[in-house]
């Protein structure tokens, strides 16, 4: 009848995106008559921040204020083709497609401005605040808005850009089995501290610490929040969620949120995160993107922490009290393991 503390660790090398027949994303950008830009994507923002990342990347590349960029991700019937929002591919794949589209649109924008100012487009720069001017001569300027209107109503030009980013299919070498499915890997290490009750089998997560290397972090607050939310999901998968808690008879499985368990706001643990940035050579401004790996290392770290606490190795998820109690009984009692790295 005791509570045992344990510490577990897990690391992850996480491939960004996938490579089943090639992995393309497309983006289209056009200017509206008011000098604002619309980015059309078919990838969906499910709350992970796709729209915000797209706005930042597009505004930076176009050289216009972020408020002047709209992102339309709604419709895969009418939008440009995209593989979708999965495999943690959004920032990397779509971000690169958006940069390509924004570069082309910026080229047309500067040409239209050059025509109005009667200068060479190569001599023009943007100030990021909605103006275009001659390099070294800020007074010779025109607003993006006036340029967009001139392009549309005088010059008969479309200020627009097309972008695609493709990771081509990497075939398997028949001799060696070698392939190169991914170009960008993110990395993380996570430590979890738990307490296990040997009478009830209950696991309490006391706290977690992690370090994530994600390439250039395009929006730090959103990355941090994605990591916090993903870690909760990791705890949930490690200790709570299953459609078949009483397998092999699924008749007694959960039918609703009363029976399908997830940790509530009272079950969360303090979590400290360190973010490391090693920009990816082929990422948009060096970005990779966190995505699924927010949750991944939490599961093995908790499994290791449970083993460290009571000596029970649970090999199938979730790690329920029942499995822990059966393990403790099979071992003839809780068997706390050695621990390095100081007191918990």
């Amino acid at each position: 009848m005791a509570r045992f503390r344990g510490r577990g660790m897990a690391s992850v090398n996480y491939p960004i995106g996938m490579n089943l027949g090639g992995d393309p994303s497309q983006a289209l950008i056009h200017s509206n008559p008011d000098g604002k830009f619309t980015v059309a994507l078919s990838a969906i923002d499910l709350g992970q921040g796709m729209k915000q990342v797209t706005r930042q990347v597009a505004a930076e590349t176009l050289g216009v204020p972020i408020e002047d960029v709209y992102v339309d991700t709604a419709d895969s019937d009418t939008g440009p083709h995209d593989m979708g929002s999965f495999a943690s591919r959004g920032t990397h794949r779509m971000g690169n497609a958006v940069i390509a589209a924004a570069r082309e649109a910026r080229g047309v924008l500067l040409e239209a401005a050059a025509e109005e100012l009667e200068v060479n487009a190569a001599d023009l720069v943007t100030d990021g605040r909605g103006n275009i001017h001659v390099k070294g001569a800020p007074s010779r300027s025109i607003t993006v808005r006036a340029t967009a209107q001139a392009a549309q109503f005088k010059q008969g030009k479309t200020i627009a850009g097309r972008g695609i980013f493709l990771i081509p299919l990497s075939s398997v070498d028949a001799e060696t089995g070698e392939m190169n499915p991914n170009t960008a890997f993110a990395h993380a290490c996570l430590v979890a501290d738990v307490e296990v009750d040997d009478e009830t089998g209950d696991v309490t997560v006391l706290g977690m610490s992690s370090a994530y290397e994600l390439g250039r972090v395009i929006n730090p607050r959103m990355v941090e929040q994605q990591l916090v939310g993903g870690a909760w999901m990791g705890i949930s998968h490690a200790l709570y969620e299953t459609p078949e808690p009483y397998y092999p008879n699924p008749d007694h499985g959960p039918r609703d949120f009363n029976e399908y368990l997830m940790p509530g706001p009272g079950d969360i643990a303090p979590y400290s995160i360190t973010i490391l940035e090693r920009p990816a050579p082929d990422g948009p401004f060096g970005g990779k993107g966190p995505g699924e790996m927010c949750a991944n290392p939490v599961l093995p770290a908790i499994a290791n922490a449970v083993y460290n606490a009571v000596g029970v190795r649970v090999n199938d998820l979730p790690i329920t009290p029942e499995k822990i109690l059966r393990g403790i009984r099979a071992n003839g009692g809780a068997k706390p393991q050695a621990r390095r790295g100081g007191a918990l």
């Binding site: 499910l46 709350g47 992970q48 921040g49 607050r221 959103m222 941090e224 929040q225 994605q226 916090v228 939310g229 993903g230 870690a231 909760w232 999901m233 609703d256 949120f257 009363n258 997830m262 509530g264 706001p265 009272g266 969360i268 979590y271």
Partner: protein
């Protein structure tokens, strides 16, 4: 079944609807009155995203018979902002990144408002208790807890009730 007329106040305006006497309030709000603030999550009282205030008290619209709200004053997330001025809780949710997909947010905001209306200075435990009936799949709850605690620190004079 024959439809019956019902009237109540919704976010400060008098509204009337014809609805099946067995309809729940969530159905009448969303289908009858195009009030899409409260979300349909589970339809059986387990997720909290349909939360509304009825005469100031927190209720699950999916478990409330609409006809029982005759004459009542109903408040949804859509009524929290004062014109262009967001409620301090809404501002705090933005500040603290307390919404990701946003599906739980209407219910979280209403549950938090119910808490602050009766207890302007809640402890962390009281905040947790207040949102324990609301499921969030995305945020891990911590930013929501932080947002509510920080909105509570905004002086009541600045807060619209």
């Amino acid at each position: 079944m024959a439809k019956v007329p019902m009237q109540f106040r919704l976010n400060g305006s008098d509204r009337a609807a014809f609805a099946d006497p067995a309809d729940n309030l969530l159905t009448v709000l969303r289908r009858g009155l195009n009030e899409f603030g409260p979300k349909y999550g589970c339809g059986q009282g387990t997720c909290g995203t349909c939360s509304v205030l009825i005469d100031g008290e927190l209720h699950l619209a999916c478990l409330t018979l609409a006809a029982a709200c005759e004459g009542a004053s109903i408040e949804t997330v859509s009524g929290m902002a004062d014109g262009p001025n967001l409620h301090p809780l809404q501002n705090a949710f933005m500040e603290h990144f307390a919404a990701q997909c946003g599906f739980c947010t209407p219910g979280m905001l209403i549950a938090a408002k119910a808490l602050l209306d009766r207890n302007p200075n809640p402890s962390r435990e009281e905040v947790i208790d207040a949102i324990a009936g609301n499921i969030c799949r995305c945020t891990g709850y911590e930013p929501i807890i932080q947002a509510i605690l920080s909105a509570a620190r905004v002086s009541p004079a600045q807060r619209r009730s």
